[in-house]
């Protein structure tokens, strides 16, 4: 396989391509900031993200990141293990690539009368670069840097509609909470460093023994790290920014943050807690972080779903539902046990992938609605299926998929999470509570997801509206997302293998 001959650095091709594209757009912007050549700009962004996606897919198929022992091309770790390219890294690079591509394509129409096109796309791709790098980060340093690289552009992106109060308010809240959490995160890093004397994750794991007498310090540090991840993944108690940020931000950005950024947050959480803090050792140190995640998972999914149940603003409902899904994905960490747990962790990864499609699609539909200017509440959406059946079929697909009803992708991942939780329950009965919470919340979520379907399909429009335009980019993105959400069901075999393989690889 050609990959072998290349220098190791090429293993980082996916983020690099994103960075490159970002720079290209940045240059373009600095040369001609007011350019409204949308096809070119959006095209470059889309091509760049698709290229990164393609490379990542190619890598994972070519066996990059699969240990040689398993017939792959071996795990690449660069800069003394500061960065690592293994299956999980590639898996999440794919997620980021997918979402970025969808968002760039959709933005083509959404930003039709926005002043600074290029800056927008370059920011998006910079953030994407950060997320993609997070997937590969293997040291608290790189994690922190890439995390900030992802965050800072995001702040700007949320507030990019400078004259829109909602956007600004969202940006402010997002930024302030973000600053606070990153401060906490950094402090956590410093404590962990203090307790172990290392930043590189494997090294931390090796030196945990030294932390016997400082376990309190280490514990607080670990919790602070969790805080950082919780912020990035919009999990309780660091989720408060999410509803506002998603509601206020431009819909494509909301899609971008709620799918890709969330996934990135999870990948570092997965890596840190599987690599740096092996559960068995931490338990001897009295730091049983799986308990924390059990609590967080239950609370997060409950808060998210319950708050979503009675929203009137579609976007806000989706925002809360994305909090709820963060809770589902947290099961991946909560379900980790001293021996194994790759099933549940893999399930979490699958969920994040499928979520990348269905949730992005859902937000993009909102983008479409904002593009049409039909309004933001459920009532405003009433009877849209008469004017735009295709988009509404897609919406129904996203909603039912989010609710976990077959025959859509969301069914698999959610039920695998459930299955994984139950499997883990054999080792840790607390997981039964998680599974129960999952059932209750799924039932509730079905209620509010089907409310949206009801609005567009069953209700009659409050006021008659003339036929709606069909913006190419948005439609393309939405339809692609929908098709993927459906096709992923029959074609789930490889996805499941990849995810579970990746999970198995990082679990000690």
């Amino acid at each position: 396989m050609a990959v072998l001959e290349m220098p190791e650095l090429t293993a980082l091709a996916p983020p690099m391509i994103l960075a490159l594209t970002a720079l290209v757009l940045f240059t373009y912007d600095s040369i001609n900031p007011r350019s409204t050549n949308r096809p070119v700009i959006a095209g470059v962004a889309a091509v760049g993200s698709l290229a990164s996606l393609a490379v990542a897919v190619w890598f994972i198929l070519a066996g990059v990141g699969t240990p040689v022992a398993e017939g792959g091309n071996g795990v690449f770790d660069l800069f003394e293990g500061q960065l690592i390219v293994d299956q999980m890294a590639l898996f999440f690079m794919i997620i980021v690539g997918v979402v970025t591509a969808l968002v760039s394509i959709a933005s083509y129409d959404y930003l039709r009368d926005h002043a600074y096109q290029a800056e927008y796309y370059s920011l998006v791709l910079l953030a994407a670069t950060g997320m993609s790098t997070m997937a590969a980060s293997n040291s608290l340093v790189t994690i922190f840097i890439s995390l900030e690289l992802a965050s800072l552009p995001s702040f700007a992106l949320v507030a990019i509609l400078k004259s829109n109060r909602g956007s600004v308010e969202a940006g402010l809240k997002y930024f302030l909470i973000g600053a606070l959490s990153s401060a906490i995160f950094v402090y956590g890093i410093s404590l962990v460093y203090g307790a172990t004397g290392h930043m590189q994750l494997d090294a931390i794991a090796d030196n945990l023994g030294a932390a016997e007498e400082m376990n309190g310090l280490l514990g607080i540090g670990v919790l602070m790290l969790i805080g950082g991840f919780a912020y990035k993944t919009a999990s309780v108690p660091f989720h408060f920014w999410a509803p506002e940020a998603y509601e206020g931000a431009p819909a494509p950005i909301a899609a971008f943050l709620s799918s890709a950024s969330k996934a990135a947050g999870f990948v570092i959480a997965f890596r840190v807690f599987t690599t740096a803090f092996p559960l068995d050792v931490m338990q001897t140190l009295g730091i049983d972080w799986s308990l924390v995640f059990i609590v967080l998972a239950i609370v997060t999914m409950t808060v998210g779903n319950f708050a979503a149940a009675t929203q009137n603003n579609v976007k806000r409902m989706l925002a809360y539902s994305s909090v709820g899904h963060a809770g589902y994905a947290l099961i991946g960490l909560a379900g980790l046990t001293v021996d194994g747990g790759e099933l549940v962790l893999g399930a979490a990864m699958m969920h994040l992938l499928v979520y990348g499609f269905m949730n992005t699609g859902a937000f993009l539909f909102v983008a479409l609605a904002e593009y049409w200017g039909v309004g933001r509440t459920f009532e405003d959406y009433n009877g849209l299926s008469k004017q735009a059946p295709i988009a509404c079929v897609a919406l129904a697909v996203f909603m039912f998929s989010l609710a976990g009803i077959p025959p859509f992708g969301g069914f698999w991942s959610k039920y695998f999470l459930f299955t994984g939780a139950l499997e883990a329950a054999s080792a840790n009965p607390w997981l039964l509570a998680v599974a129960a919470a999952l059932v209750i919340n799924s039932a509730l979520s079905l209620y509010y997801y089907s409310r949206l379907v009801k609005a567009v399909w069953i209700e009659d429009p409050v006021l008659e509206r003339e036929s709606l335009s069909q913006p190419t980019g948005l439609y393309a993105a939405i339809v692609v997302a929908a098709v993927m959400t459906v096709l992923i069901l029959p074609g789930f075999g490889p996805v499941a293998d990849a995810a579970i393989g990746a999970a198995g690889a990082i679990i000690p």
Binding site: E342, L343, G346, A396, F400, I405, P406, P407, F411, Y415, F416, F418, T419, G420, L422, E423, A425, S426, P429, L431, L432, A435, A436, V439, S442, A443, L446, Y447, S450, R451, V453, K454, W457, I458, E459, L489, F492, G493, A496, D497, I500
Partner: protein, 512 residues
């Protein structure tokens, strides 16, 4: 690959119909739906399976292929047909075709979407009855909800939104409970199983059963799972007290949806009960005989009493479905050849009869735009043929001999009375049988008020005779009902063949 063909035809047909112009959608869907009918009848003709699908019987049209490796467990595409599933598959295909034809009159908006959804339901219903891998089965099981939700929600009556969401959420919760408990069971079975294939799981259950799981002892776990799954399916069946979604859904649903709902969807629940609870947990069944039998009796009597109190024809039929499903539970818990066989037979029989009843009520509704017993009388004067068929169907419901309903109920009663599951079974049977009096009561009252007497109609709506395509499906159903009543062996033979292995599981043998 015939099964795949069956499902594929329905799915593709659904897509085609969905994009077809409204004008031709109905006819198109009907023509498409004839293909599955043909295939299933052909299957019926050449059926060569024997024994029970879950108890290493030989399957007909079996096909199995790898799909997903989930940790230590394989999820496979695994379908096959045995004597229990075949009649239900045939029932489904036929009922769908007839339902489509019967909806030509009432459905006058967004036809292509409507018929597309109906065909989509058909695909999933067939899947439920043929799938032999738990995950696969569960996909079909759940996928039925969406189209039904939309059918009720879009084309339903005034309170359709409430009814639809209630049906959707309620049954979905039940499914989740069932799913969870079953998965827990599979994991508790440990190394005994390496896939979600039902036969394998059944085998593991029957020799040894689960180890303790998550700190719950083996025995307790099995009982818990049994109860949880019973509750899960009980909502679908539905048995009292989990039935309240049914009348709402039925009343609000458009006629063809009601036909499918009562005709096939309810059978999913009883079918699942038979496949899971009563095949995999024989010991638990014997442990819970009395409560289950009691629930069955309550469902029969209570459901019939509720029907007696209704004045909406559809509500009457809906509640009587609850009552009829109670018979099925009674037959299952009897755990005898005629008990379980009769229960299965009742699934088919009730599918036909309730379908006929809903169609007949629908035809009257099309003509009068009311379903209220109090609003009309003497309909027999205006639409003799439709009313004639309705009367025939009603008597079928009352269990008139030489119609399938009698055969089914008689088998169930006989099996239950002779059952040794519990010493109280004869008592339960006697109580449940009183249902045949109440059912006669409310149906005769309703018919007397609506069909007979001098003609009177509250709504000023000009009555026109029902067109042929409304009547024809009812005659087909009536023919099938009588055929099965005169010669139950048509399907009872294969049913008993598939049921006997289950009966042999019980340590209390059945005499009847």
């Amino acid at each position: 690959m015939m099964i795949e063909a069956l499902i594929a035809v329905a799915l593709v047909g659904a897509l085609v119909t969905f994009v077809a112009p409204n004008r031709i959608a109905g006819k198109l869907a009907f023509v498409i739906s004839l293909v599955p009918v043909a295939i299933s009848l052909w299957m019926f003709a050449v059926f060569d399976g024997s024994g029970n699908a879950l108890l290493d019987g030989t399957l007909a049209f079996e096909s199995q292929m790898e799909w997903i490796q989930l940790g230590d467990y394989a999820i496979t595409w695994f379908v096959g047909i045995d004597g229990i599933s075949l009649p239900l598959v045939v029932l489904t295909t036929i009922l769908v075709s007839l339902a489509i034809m019967s909806s030509w009159t009432p459905i006058d908006m967004r036809e292509s979407q409507f018929y597309g959804l109906v065909l989509f339901i058909e695909a999933n219903l067939i899947g439920v009855f043929v799938a032999l891998d738990f995950f696969l089965w569960f996909i079909f099981w759940e996928a039925v909800l969406i189209p039904m939700y939309l059918l009720i929600g879009i084309w339903g009556g005034p309170r359709r939104k409430y009814a639809a969401i209630k049906f959707f959420v309620y049954t979905n919760v039940a499914s989740l409970v069932m799913f969870g408990s079953f998965i827990a069971l599979v994991f508790a079975l440990g190394d005994g199983v390496s896939s979600f294939a039902l036969p394998e799981i059944t085998a593991a259950m029957l020799n040894g059963g689960p180890e303790s799981f998550a700190g719950i002892g083996s025995g307790t776990l099995t009982s818990l799972v049994f109860v949880a799954m019973f509750l899960g399916f009980a909502v679908k069946v539905p048995v009292v007290p989990f039935h309240t979604w049914l009348p709402d859904a039925h009343v609000e649903a458009p006629t063809p949806a009601s036909v499918l709902l009562a005709g096939v969807l309810l059978k999913m629940g009883t079918y699942a009960l038979l496949r899971f609870n009563f095949t995999m947990f024989p010991d638990q069944v014997s442990q819970f005989v009395v409560p289950i039998a009691a629930i069955a009796v309550i469902s029969v009597i209570y459901g019939a009493m509720l029907a007696l109190a209704q004045t909406d024809l559809k509500r009457i039929v809906a509640y009587s479905s609850v009552s009829s499903m109670g018979y099925v539970i009674l037959g299952l818990v009897a755990y005898t050849q005629f008990g379980i066989g009769g229960a299965t037979f009742q699934m088919v029989s009730h599918g036909l009869i309730s379908g006929l009843m809903f169609m007949a009520v629908g035809v009257i509704y099309n003509a009068t735009h009311t379903r209220m017993v109090t609003d009309m009388s003497g309909m027999a004067d205006k639409m003799p043929i439709a009313v004639g068929v309705l009367i025939a169907g009603a008597f079928g419901y009352m269990g008139l001999p030489l119609m399938s309903g009698f055969a089914a109920e008689y088998f169930i009663f006989f099996g239950a009375f002779g059952s040794e599951a519990s010493t109280y079974m004869p008592l339960f049977t006697g109580l449940a049988m009183f249902g045949i009096v109440i059912v006669a009561g409310y149906l005769l009252f309703a018919m007397q008020r609506t069909l007979f007497g001098p003609f009177r109609l509250e709504t000023d709506y000009e009555i026109r005779r029902a067109p042929l395509h409304d009547i024809a499906p009812m005659f087909v159903l009536l023919g099938l009902i009588i055929a099965l009543g005169v010669a139950p062996e048509l399907i009872f033979e294969m049913i008993t063949d598939a049921v006997d292995p289950i009966v042999d599981l019980a340590e209390f043998g059945g005499d009847a």
